[in-house]
């Protein structure tokens, strides 16, 4: 951490003079990398709606944490989202009901349950921070945890990426090559659920899915193969993350939403480039 303070201290930027901004910058870089990486496969697996549902279901996780009297509901959120993710991916693969319907059902249920519990006695305003998120509130301890998460995700990403790619093209084809389709899918769902849930506090559940989807969607417009796709997705995510953080500092706006506007801008530009290419 002190290395980071020293490094950022070398940069001649006004907005970096505060310690909380230095932490926020590091956090944005880490979160953007994770989101860019995961987002590329969330789109390939057609799971955009899934990750949205997981984000919203975090409300129930917060509520469960509140009932249990936890000061920090993160663990309750992670466990709940993880279970939900497994349930959805199981139903997606083994039930005849369409995935959209299954996810929509779960999302409606989880959001309603969360709001009902949290609004008991009119105290919902206390939790509205989760809707918008605040990256400036991140602590050094949380950044360390984020680093561990990144390491874990990257390792899994290296080990299972090819299998995930084949599954996204055709599950039967993947199975014919000995890939355990459901296992890999479940693992990926779990990974997305954990990353989304952990990040909600900083990004806000209203915009978190856009942060996951937009950079990858933009990268899709300009990529000719998978390698370009994944790296463009990460690059666009990082660019809009850093630009959004700086803009939100000067405009005093919510960081998560500002980042999303930045990536939306990049998406529109790539849409134009696609026409040219």
């Amino acid at each position: 951490m002190s290395l980071w303070y020293w490094l950022t201290g070398l940069l001649p930027f006004d907005w970096l003079s505060f310690a909380f901004m230095k932490q926020a910058l590091l956090a944005v870089i880490l979160v953007s990398y994770l989101f860019g990486l995961l987002g590329s496969q969330v789109i390939n697996q057609q799971m955009a709606f899934f990750s949205d549902a997981i984000g919203h279901a975090a409300l129930t996780g917060i509520a469960i944490g509140a009932i249990m009297g936890l000061a920090d509901p993160t663990w309750a959120m992670v466990v709940f989202s993880g279970l939900l993710a497994l349930a959805i991916s199981w139903l997606r693969r083994f039930s005849l009901t369409s995935a959209d319907t299954v996810i929509g059902l779960f999302m409606a249920f989880a959001v309603a349950l969360g709001i009902v519990i949290l609004s008991r006695g009119g105290g919902f305003a206390r939790y509205s921070g989760y809707l918008v998120g605040d990256i400036l509130s991140i602590t050094p301890a949380e950044i360390r945890n984020l680093l561990v998460l990144i390491l874990a995700v990257t390792v899994l990403w290296v080990l299972y990426f090819n299998q995930l790619m084949l599954i996204s093209l055709n599950p039967s084809l993947a199975r014919s090559r000995g890939i355990k389709v459901w296992l890999i899918e479940a693992m990926f769902s779990l990974m997305v659920a954990v990353v989304v849930t952990v990040s909600i506090k900083w990004v806000g559940l209203l915009v978190i899915n856009s942060m996951l989807i937009l950079p990858a969607a933009a990268a899709r417009n300009i990529s000719g193969n998978t390698r370009q796709y994944v790296w463009w997705s990460i690059a666009i995510s990082l660019a809009s993350g850093i630009a959004g953080l700086i803009a939100s500092y000067y405009l005093s706006t919510a960081t998560g939403a500002t980042i999303v506007l930045m990536s939306m801008g990049i998406f529109v530009i790539t849409l134009g480039l696609k026409k040219v290419i």
Binding site: M165, L173, S176, G224, N225, R227, Q228
Partner: protein, 278 residues
């Protein structure tokens, strides 16, 4: 069968035959397949035909182990052993995917062949190996194209190339040429016949295009929930039930030779015939 006319091909893949015994598949109340008995030999190109909803695709999925089934699927190698899971090559019906997916032919190959994640780049070896296999199905020039930019026939040839890397014990083709133009169909089947000869592969092809398939297959199985007719194209085309289902004129069967000249009936493995007790 007389044992003395058995010749084991020296080109044999070592794998021998696939035996389906009393295979049945039920989805809820629907009985899709029942009591299917089939015995497919190495080096034999078997076409499974039948009307829509006859359970053809389900049959392949049962062999792939994708749908639960009753009865047995045995894979037997030339030593009479039964490997639990032989290498299966599979070409799906029509790859349904997002046409804008940023996956190139090269990505598909490298992703299927190795563990090195394709987002970290593809090695030169992997690249040249993919090119080599693609060349065998006249698709080498497609290496750097995105999957969405391929025509129906090109995509199926790419998938065929992928299915034979590594060379499988059993190649399963599920309506591989639906949506492919006439020239593409001809080319695709020629490739498949060639592969059967070169690698002595067992091939099971599912199709409803009887006329085309009859020109290339060694054997035709008419399936409608269970095996209705089974034999050489000539035998099956003269079968009453098949002629009714496909509204065939009776003289059509005579257009086909008794045995496909490209197939030598003698190329069988001893163990298949000794394993009758299974």
């Amino acid at each position: 069968m007389a044992v003395d006319n058995i010749i084991i091909s020296d080109r044999s893949c070592g794998y021998c035959c696939t035996k389906l015994v009393k295979l049945g598949v039920t989805f809820g109340q629907n009985r899709i397949l029942e009591d299917v008995n089939l015995h497919v030999h190495c080096g034999q190109f078997t076409a499974v035909i039948g009307p829509n909803g006859a359970g053809k695709t389900t049959l392949l999925k049962a062999i792939l182990g994708e749908v639960p089934h009753t009865g047995h699927v045995h894979f037997i190698d030339s030593a009479g052993q039964r490997p639990d899971r032989p290498l299966l090559g599979y070409v799906p019906q029509k790859l349904e995917f997002d046409a804008t997916a940023p996956v190139s032919v090269r990505d598909l190959f490298a992703g299927a062949a190795g563990r090195r994640p394709v987002w970290l780049g593809i090695g030169r070896n992997d690249r040249s190996r993919a090119k080599e296999v693609l060349d065998t199905v006249q698709a080498g020039h497609l290496l750097d194209r995105k999957l969405g930019q391929l025509s129906g026939g090109e995509l199926q040839r790419v998938l065929l190339a992928m299915a034979i890397t590594p060379v499988p014990n059993l190649l399963l083709l599920d309506e591989p040429v639906s949506g492919v133009d006439l020239a593409g169909i001809e080319l695709f089947y020629k490739m498949v016949s060639q592969l059967r000869r070169d690698y002595h592969l067992s091939i099971i092809l599912v199709s409803h295009d009887l006329a085309t398939v009859a020109q290339f297959a060694d054997r035709i199985v008419f399936l409608n929930r269970t095996v209705i007719a089974d034999g050489t194209p000539r035998q099956v085309l003269s079968n009453q039930a098949v002629r009714q289902a496909f509204a065939l004129p009776p003289e059509l069967a005579l257009a086909f030779p008794e045995i496909n000249p490209e197939h030598k009936e003698g190329q069988r493995c001893i163990s298949c015939n000794l394993e009758k007790s299974i």
